[in-house]
């Protein structure tokens, strides 16, 4: 592998890693607060991409506007899912997971009649290439990195500097104690759903101009996000960030050097090794 190929695949890895991180952050946030795995995350990613197809490509709205529309629409959808599925479904974690799985299946199945049987394509938004350390990298891939970084920083500030963020951290540490301080746990959980969905929509919206669109397109990033939050430690936000970067880089660099299948295999070997030495994941701790 030449140095320039290495730089190129590292940049691509950072950009794929950014997408993984945006997916994993919502999953880990929701897990930390509610102990649920949101299976619908992949379907939300897919819907985010389709919003770009319809609002940007079909209706001709500016890309940035369409991106915000995707995040807001699916954020509201997330809040409604808390209200109409998470909150009313009683009886513990299992019924909730089944309900979320049903929602996922429904969204994917509905995708075919609604969006059509054929794959959709969104034309490039940011054309051309840019010189990074002497290597040409596509701008389309490159812009993902600062946009994702801005969203990560925004989330970090929200969680650590605002009152609502403090309520989220309180719920994560002790839901009942949070309620006793006056936190309306339902509303704050709804907010976590909204944030998680909006970030998944953002990832889908960023990938729309790069990959083809079909209703099952969210499954692969969802699988990656699962791996990342297990690698980083369930419920850990720094874990999701570090895990996402690692997986993105492994995926891209190893795939460039050895091919896609060895990369897939190696990422699993890597995770198994980490979990052998630290079963709670890189940043996790025993509950």
């Amino acid at each position: 592998m030449t140095a320039s190929l290495l730089v190129q695949s590292a940049v691509i890895g950072l950009s794929i890693g950014s997408i993984y991180i945006l997916m994993a952050l919502g999953l880990t946030l929701m897990f930390g607060m509610m102990h649920i795995i949101n299976f619908a995350h992949g379907a939300v990613y897919m819907l985010g991409a389709y919003v770009i197809y319809y609002v940007f490509f079909q209706s001709g709205a500016p890309y940035f506007v369409s991106f915000v529309v995707a995040m807001v629409l699916l954020g509201v959808f997330g809040y409604l899912v808390e209200r109409s599925i998470y909150r009313p479904v009683k009886g513990g974690i299992e019924p909730t997971l089944v309900a979320l799985l049903a929602l996922t299946t429904f969204l994917q199945a509905a995708g075919y009649p609604v969006f059509g049987q054929l794959d959709k394509h969104v034309p490039p938004v940011f054309e051309g290439t840019k010189n990074v350390l002497g290597v040409m990298v596509s701008v389309e891939r490159l812009v993902i990195i600062p946009i994702a970084a801005a969203l990560v920083v925004g989330l970090y500030l929200f969680i650590n500097k605002t009152k609502m963020g403090a309520a989220m951290r309180a719920i994560e540490q002790d839901k009942e104690a949070a309620a006793l301080q006056g936190v309306n746990v339902h509303v704050v959980n709804g907010l976590a759903f909204a944030i998680g969905f909006a970030l998944a929509a953002a990832s889908g919206a960023l990938m729309a101009p790069i990959f083809k669109l079909d209703p099952m397109m969210g499954e692969q990033p969802l699988l990656k996000a699962f791996i990342i939050i297990i690698l980083g430690g369930l419920g850990s936000i720094p874990g999701a960030i570090v895990g996402g970067l690692m997986l993105g880089l492994i995926d891209s660099i190893v795939a460039t050097a050895l091919g896609a299948e060895p990369a897939f295999l190696l990422s699993f070997v890597f995770i198994i090794l980490v979990l052998l030495f630290k079963p709670t994941g890189l940043f996790g701790y025993a509950q």
């Binding site: 951290r169 009942e176 949070a178 936190v183």
Partner: protein
């Protein structure tokens, strides 16, 4: 100010509280004592909406509390220091205190309450930046009480504040409970340490396996032969 009538709570097939009635008059300290599993914690949890009673009536001032969520009940002026303290262990002492004032709207009010808290608990000011999980047991109990006071409650529910504390620390907590009551905060004190509870309280209720078996003036309960044998170990 608080009236509980015929409160019943069940966990599945087991009835943990079987028709308990008690009341708290404004400005007083009332104590609930009883052995393990008597239903003391469950009774408090029913008052603040953490468990739903199967029947009964709970009135606080003019409001009925049944069916209300915990966050609404804090808003009415009842703060609950739960069994086991239940601090936010990864948050700092100051962040825990600020969570206690979650429903306060004005920054000025929070600052003045905080000032009052620091007068009573100077150690918490010193430890402000330390995470709550790293405090000693006694300091954690002080923080749990202080966090509850941050909501400026009219009624404070304390569930076994002496649990796990040394005799010296227990006496210290007793002093703090008196000081809080002197500031016109009514208190329900749940304790296995009946001696502590009955010396602090004006009135006491004795629970046994979910039912009220005795009640009376705290001083009289302290002299009662049955109470002495069963709860004071003398």
């Amino acid at each position: 100010m608080l009236d509980v009538k015929d409160l019943r709570v069940r966990y599945g097939a087991v009835e943990a509280v079987k028709g308990v009635s008690f009341s708290v008059s404004a400005g007083s300290i009332v104590s609930l004592i009883g052995a393990n599993g008597a239903g003391k914690t469950t009774s408090l949890r029913a008052l603040t909406g953490l468990v739903r009673p199967s029947s009964g009536e709970v009135r606080f001032e003019t409001a009925s509390l049944l069916g209300r969520a915990p966050h609404e009940i804090v808003g009415l002026g009842i703060a609950h220091v739960p069994e086991g303290r239940r601090l936010f262990p990864k948050m700092t002492v100051l962040e825990n205190l600020k969570m206690g004032a979650y429903r306060a709207r004005r920054q000025k009010d929070i600052a003045s309450t905080l000032g009052m808290i620091y007068e009573h608990f100077p150690i918490l000011k010193e430890r402000g930046r330390q995470v709550a999980g790293s405090l000693s047991g006694g300091e954690q109990q002080m923080l749990a009480i202080a966090r509850a006071l941050m909501s400026r409650p009219k009624l404070l529910l304390l569930d076994e504040p002496s649990m796990g504390l040394s005799p010296i620390m227990t006496a210290e907590i007793g002093k703090i409970i008196r000081q809080i009551n002197d500031r016109d905060v009514s208190i329900i004190l749940v304790e296995q340490n009946a001696m502590l509870a009955l010396t602090l309280a004006q009135y006491g209720y004795v629970l046994e396996t979910g039912s009220l078996v005795m009640q009376g003036n705290a001083q009289e309960l302290l002299r009662d032969e049955g109470v002495k044998k069963a709860y004071l170990g003398i």
